[in-house]
Every structure is written in C-alpha cells, then in structure tokens.
C-alpha cells in the first residue's frame, strides 16, 4: 500500500514538474486560429491556402493582388512588354531589403526565379512558371523575363503567392526541407518561431520599405476541432478564426463580442463527369443531369447562404469569367433530354464524394435525390481525402478511373481565366489536372490561342467562347455554387485584408 502511494505521488510530481508557465495574452499581438497548422513557409513549395497566406506576410512579389483582385505594383514599380511580346521587363524599387539586410535587387530576383525553375529541386509550384525560359539582369534594379511565346497571364502569375521573392542563397544553403521552417523574405513581417501544431509566431519587420504594420506579433495557433475553435473565439483566447461551421455562423452573429466577415471567393463547388464513360458521350445526357439539380435549394438550405448558385465555370471574381446565368432547374426538360438521347428509362451511375469539402456528403446525397427524380439511379461512395486524391486525382488513365461522377472544388488562384480553364479542361493523356478526361478540340484551340496573346480584350472574347462550350454546349461538370470565405473575429479587430483565395493577412490590421 505504501509503495503504491509513493509511486503515484512520484508520478504526479514528475508530471506536474513538466508544466510550463503560461504566455500571457499581450495587447500587442493578434492570435489567429485555423483548423490546421501551416505546412511550410517556402512559397514555392506549398499548395495550401493556410501556409500561402502566411507567406504573403513574409515575402513580397514583383506585383500584388489588391482585395478586388486588381494587380498593383509592389517590388516592381512598373513593367513593360516588348514589341514581340516575348520579353517582360520589370523596374524594381531600390529600397527593399531582405530580413537579413541584403538588398532585393535584380540579381536577387533572378536568383529567386532561377531557384523556382530549378528542375533538380522539384518545387511543387514550378509548373505555374514554365512559360519563363530565361531571367536576365538588365540593370541593378531592372530584371527581364523571356518567354517562347506571348503569354497573356504573365503579370497575373507574378501576383501569385508562389512568386514571392526569396533569398535564394539562404534557401539553397538550408536545403528544401529546412528552408520551410526558416524563411527569409522582404515582407512586412519576419519569422520568429514555430512549434509544430501549437504556435507559429511572426514579428513585425521594423525595417520594412512600405507601411509598417501596427501589430507587433502575429500568432498562428491552430485549433482543429471546430467547436473548440468557435469557443476559443467567444472566450477571447483567440482573435480571428476561419473555417467557421455554417451552423455556428448564425449563433455567432448574435454574440456582441464577435464580428463575421465574408467575401466571395475564386472558388466553386460542383461535380465532374468522367468522360471516359460511354454514358456521358451525348452532351444531352450531361445537360439533363445539370437541369435536374436545384442549385438554389442547395445553396440556401444546405449551405445556409454560404454559397451562391454558379453562373459560369469560373467564379465571378476571376478575371475573364462570364455570367451565363444559373442553369435552370427543370426536371421535365431533363427527362425529355434523356429520352431524346435514348435513355427514356434512365440508368445507374456511381458517384464519389469526400467530406473534405464542406457538406460534401450532404450535397452528394441531395444530388442523388434530384437525379432519382428524373430516372437516374446512383450508388454513392464516401471516401476520405487521402483515398480520394489517390483514386480520383492520382494521374490515372481513363481505364483506371472507376466512377462516373465525382465531387470537385474549382478554384483559380491566379485570379486569371487561364489557370481556371487550361490545366483542368484541356485534353491530356492522364487525369493529373483534367480530372474528368474532358476533351473538346474547339475548346483546346481557344485556350491555347488566348494563352499566346497579350491583348486582354482578345483574351476576354476567346475565354467567353471557351466557357460557353464547357458550361453550356458540351458541359464537363455541374457547377453548383460559388463559395464564400467567412472568418469570425473579436470585436475591435480591424483592418483585415481578405483575399478571394480564402486567405487573410494582417499587415494593415489593428486592435482597438
């Protein structure tokens, strides 16, 4: 008995001894809680918006997106394209410095892009920049990018988070993996510390060339459990949260200590057809499916207003998007189209969904019900994201993709129609990016023509026609709704910059 109590007491003492004293919540800091931790801080080697928004505060790019997705000068004060449209020259400001004091001059910019394009390094984001063939230092603060063919979306791509200028020397010295945790950029905030899954801290860059931020420390503290996250906001343990469950939004609107902010994103939710399946050969069948679904009902009742029925294959904030109107909910028309195409009795399809997309399962079930009403029976398979990305998105060949219809999130992170259309809908041998094996020759030629011109009006016209094909005539997907990006903050937190890529940054923020 005595031994036992001694053991217990010893265990208790040892355990208590490890508890550290708390970090008090200072007035000069802002705490942000997402549902996951960042994956890394090298802008070229990440693909999640959570990490990307942090890199926006650590790094500067040549140009930058304003909140309405217009492109504004940043490290580059101005830029010109050559007569033959093959060379882009950027004139840099001369007072930008990296966090370690080195100047951000043309050499540094060239080094940063050379690293991005280094095929041996294999950075995840390099495919975005393959149109660049060479980077040249023209003068101390003038740098030129050469392309093989005219590239209409060059400047838009330079505004992407992956175009942030890094100190390449430092990055190479550390290596790809270590650099993810020890970033050096020239942005308004510097990296301070990172305890995995607990706390990532940025500290203000007092030598910043631009407007100095008002808040000294930004703390990223992930809270994976949604209810806990909402609770932490209400109790004041965190200042800003994201991924707010739709049901909590209504409740939070009544809390006077909390404010809800929303903007429309460059993203949409929908389902794609697997064009390798014979059943979808006739466009009328696909159009029938599209007309069978009531997008308004889904947006209002399932998504509780956090979605707007889609009016085109690109979200309205994306440059180049066109408003074709919501596809009419008309089950009678669906049945007619099916009969015309030779399926008066309907057929059975296999649908795959994943709960990784908000309400992914509920939306799929709703779709099933709508389809059944026009005679299309379906089996539903629910898989987690790891399996989904392997069995649906894994660079498969047509005979390897085993479903007919699958959920998809569409998003255009360059804010430009090219990225929203070309990788996902042009003809490709595997479904690495064109997940549904869509192939339309006229569409392909329109897209590639638009890629090669820098005349923005010409591009708009080409993209309009291309979208007409992929949305109305020969649909490759059922676009259900455009998604909203919603964050909740404590009252008194102001000046947040929200971008339609589900990102928020704090360089202009202050707390009352």
């Amino acid at each position: 008995m005595k031994v036992w109590s001694v053991v217990v007491v010893a265990l208790l003492l040892v355990s208590i001894a490890g508890c550290v004293s708390p970090g008090a919540k200072e007035a000069e800091q802002l705490v942000y809680s997402a549902n996951v931790d960042a994956r890394g801080l090298c802008p070229q080697n990440i693909n999640d918006s959570n990490s990307a928004q942090i890199t926006l505060m650590l790094y500067d790019g040549l140009v930058k997106f304003d909140e309405d997705l217009s492109i504004i000068p940043w490290l580059a004060e101005r830029w010109v394209v050559s007569e033959d449209e093959l060379t882009w020259t950027f004139y840099l400001r001369d007072d930008a410095k990296f966090h370690n004091g080195k100047p951000v001059d043309a050499k540094a910019v060239k080094a940063s892009f050379d690293r991005l394009l280094d095929t041996d390094l294999g950075l995840i984001r390099s495919p975005l920049f393959t149109m660049i063939t060479e980077v040249t230092v023209v003068d101390d603060y003038v740098v030129a990018f050469s392309t093989d063919e005219p590239c209409g979306f060059m400047v838009a791509t330079m505004a992407h988070t992956a175009a942030g200028i890094v100190d390449a020397e430092h990055a190479y010295a550390l290596g790809k993996d270590a650099y993810m945790k020890d970033p050096i950029g020239s942005g308004p905030y510097k990296f301070s510390s990172w305890t995995e899954d607990e706390e990532l801290v940025l500290v203000r860059n007092d030598d910043y060339w631009g407007d100095k931020p008002k808040i000294k420390n930004i703390v990223y503290r992930p809270i994976p459990e949604a209810s806990s996250r909402v609770l932490a906001l209400q109790s004041g343990e965190t200042d800003v949260i994201t991924q707010v469950p739709e049901t909590d939004i209504v409740r939070l609107q009544e809390d006077e200590n909390v404010e809800i902010l929303s903007i429309w994103t460059a993203g949409q939710r929908g389902f794609r057809f697997n064009h390798a399946r014979e059943i979808w050969n006739d466009p009328r069948v696909r159009r029938a499916v599209s007309h069978a679904i009531d997008r308004q009902a889904i947006a209002e009742n399932l998504m509780m207003g956090q979605g707007n029925p889609s009016v085109g294959p690109l979200a309205p904030v994306t440059w180049g998007s066109h408003n074709f109107g919501v596809i009419e909910y008309n089950p009678e028309l669906s049945k007619q189209l099916l009969a015309d195409a030779g399926y008066p009795d309907g057929f059975t399809i296999h649908i795959v969904t994943t709960p990784r997309y908000a309400k992914g399962v509920e939306i799929a079930e709703a779709v099933q019900t709508y389809l059944r009403a026009v005679g299309i029976e379906s089996t539903l398979e629910i898989v987690e994201w790891g399996i989904f990305s392997q069995t649906i998105l894994g660079g498969l060949t047509p005979d390897e993709l085993t479903c007919d219809f699958f959920i998809m999130g569409f998003a255009t992170f360059t804010g430009d129609a090219d990225w929203g259309l070309r990788p996902v809908y042009t003809t490709q041998p595997t479904n690495e990016n064109n997940y549904g094996f869509y192939s339309n020759a006229e569409f392909d030629s329109l897209i590639f023509e638009a890629m090669k011109t820098t005349d923005q009006d010409k591009r708009l016209a080409l993209y309009k026609r291309a979208q007409e094909i992929v949305y109305l005539e020969d649909p490759t997907a059922v676009w259900l709704f455009d998604t909203k990006y919603t964050i909740a903050t404590r009252k008194g937190v102001n000046g947040l910059s929200m971008l339609p890529f589900s990102m928020v940054t704090f360089q202009k923020a202050w707390i009352d």
């Binding site: 008995m1 208790l12 508890c19 995840i124 806990s228 932490a232 990016n433």
Partner: protein
C-alpha cells in the same frame, strides 16, 4: 522477483517487432500516397515522383521495413513526411502531454471511483448509494466528446475560470483530465462497490469487527485492501485506454499530445509518424501492464512471482 521482472522486460523487443510489422504493413496496404498528398492536387507527375524518391518510398517493401527496423533499434524512427523533423523529437515533445493527461485522468478516476465505491458499499441501498451509482453510470456512458465540450461550455465560456485551448499550465489540464477520467471513475466506482460488498461478507471482516476495531479501520485497512485487487486490473486496463483515448480529448481541448499526432499523421499518410507514435503507445502499454502486475504483489501478499 527480479527474474520475473527481467523476463517481462525481455518481452518488450518482441512486442516492438510485432507491432512495428503490423503497423508498417497496414499503412502501406491502405490506399493513399503520401508523396501525392504532400505534392498536392496541382502537382506534376515528375514532382510527385521526385518526392517519392526523396522519401525512400520507391524501394521495395521488405527493404523499406528492414531499414526502418534497423534504424529503430538505433533509436532513430526516421523523419516525419509532413514536417521533415525527426519523429523521435516530435514524439519526445508530445508524449509528456499525453502522459500527464493519462496520469491525471487515472488518478482522478481512482480517487473519485474508489471513494464513491467505498461509500456506496458501506451504505448499500441508501440514497447515497443510488445517487453515486447513477453518476457512475453517466460517467461510463457519456461520450468523451460530448462531456468535453460540455465542460468547455460551462467552465471556459460561461464561467470563464478555465482555459479552453492548449497545454501550457496546470490549469489547462483540469478539464481534459476530468473528461478522460470520467469513464474510468464510473467503472472503478462500480467495481469497487461490488468488490467491497463481496469482501465485507467475508469471515475475516466479521472477525475484525468482533475484535472491536473502528468501522473506519475495518473498511480501509482490512476490507478495501482486498477489494482493490480487481480494481487494480481495471486501473491497468484503463490506463491503456486513456493513452489511446486521449485522441478525442486532445482534439477537443487542442492539446499537442501523441494521440492527436497519431490521427493527424494517418490522414497525411505520414508513415514514419504513425509508426513512431503507435510504437511508443504500445511500449507504454506494456510497461504499464508490468507495473500493474507488480502492484498486485505489493497489495496482495499471497501473490508471488517467480
């Protein structure tokens, strides 16, 4: 006795081997490619392939296992696929959190459970007995997720006396420990009560009372000690359950423990992390079981190991 302990400790490498083999194989047979998850949806096939080679996942399975196990024996559990940091250091930082949760939860469940069980047995069929047993039933049946959120709501949001997020101070451990310990307390209360009721009817208890000893001495020094033996079994088992069940509590209370790391790593197919965390939990379980078995010997002089 020392021979017995030595023999039991020798089981550890065997456990390590079997568990590692099972976890290793299971991980690789479920669909999901860590290289692809790391690279993301937009990545080209070449990038994914490059990452796969960097992670050593292109080698044949037996080669991968052998290199994993030999490193393990050297104390190197590889690097996390997701963060690139050594698994050993990640585990070392996280394990204490889960350990504390399990210890505090167990202590709480013992204190509450034994106390409630003894009182119930001593005042069998009284009001106190009934109330205590109903509360025990609630403790056993309530899902930890629900209980945790309820406690958060009451103490963090409404009363604002306890923090909701993190594991930095002792205060942060109170609510999660209560949540974890609730089920154990309920089980132990009921176990203690029935064990005590059995023991109280024994001859030697009647003898103790006849000797004129106070009721308190009879109950605590004579009856309880014998009644505790089955309870110790429960405590040992509960500890293992707490170690693993901390996953839910760690998620709800946002604590950086091993349970959460284990589950998050599975979603990422972070093979080395899953292997490392599962192994650590398995080893702890074996060690705790050994300690519990040794405790039997101290509590019950009739038990003798050779």
């Amino acid at each position: 006795m020392t021979q017995y302990i030595a023999r039991r400790l020798l089981q550890l490498p065997l456990v390590l081997f079997v568990v590692s083999l099972i976890v290793f194989s299971m991980l690789r047979f479920i669909p999901g490619d860590p290289a692809r998850i790391l690279a993301g949806e937009d990545a080209k096939a070449e990038t994914v392939e490059l990452i796969r080679i960097e992670l050593g996942l292109d080698k044949p399975l037996p080669v991968q296992y052998v290199s994993f196990f030999t490193s393990l024996l050297r104390g190197d559990m590889g690097n996390s696929i997701r963060t690139g940091r050594p698994v050993t250091s990640e585990v070392v930082t996280r394990f204490p959190v889960t350990m504390r949760l399990a210890v505090f939860g167990t202590v709480l469940s013992i204190l509450l459970g034994v106390f409630a069980g003894v009182i119930s047995a001593a005042k069998q069929y009284s009001g106190v007995d009934a109330v205590a047993m109903v509360i025990a039933l609630i403790g056993v049946s309530a899902p930890s997720f629900w209980l945790g959120l309820l406690l958060l709501l009451v103490f963090s949001l409404w009363l604002k006396i306890l923090p909701a997020v993190g594991a930095s101070t002792l205060l942060h451990y109170i609510l999660p420990s209560v949540t974890l310990g609730a089920r154990g307390a309920g089980i132990i209360a009921r176990q203690t009560r029935s064990a005590m009721l059995d023991v109280i009817r024994q001859d030697y208890v009647r003898t103790a009372r006849a000797k004129g000893l106070s009721e308190r001495t009879v109950i605590y020094s004579h009856a309880l000690r014998n009644a505790l033996i089955p309870v110790i079994t429960v405590i040992g088992l509960q500890f293992g359950v707490l170690l693993a069940g901390s996953v839910i509590v760690e998620k709800v209370f946002t604590m950086p423990g091993i349970g959460r790391a284990m589950v998050d790593s599975i979603a990422f197919r972070d093979y080395p992390m899953v292997q490392g965390t599962v192994l650590v939990v398995a080893v702890s379980f074996v060690v705790v079981n050994l300690v519990v078995d040794l405790l039997y010997a101290t509590v019950d002089p009739r038990i003798h190991y050779s």
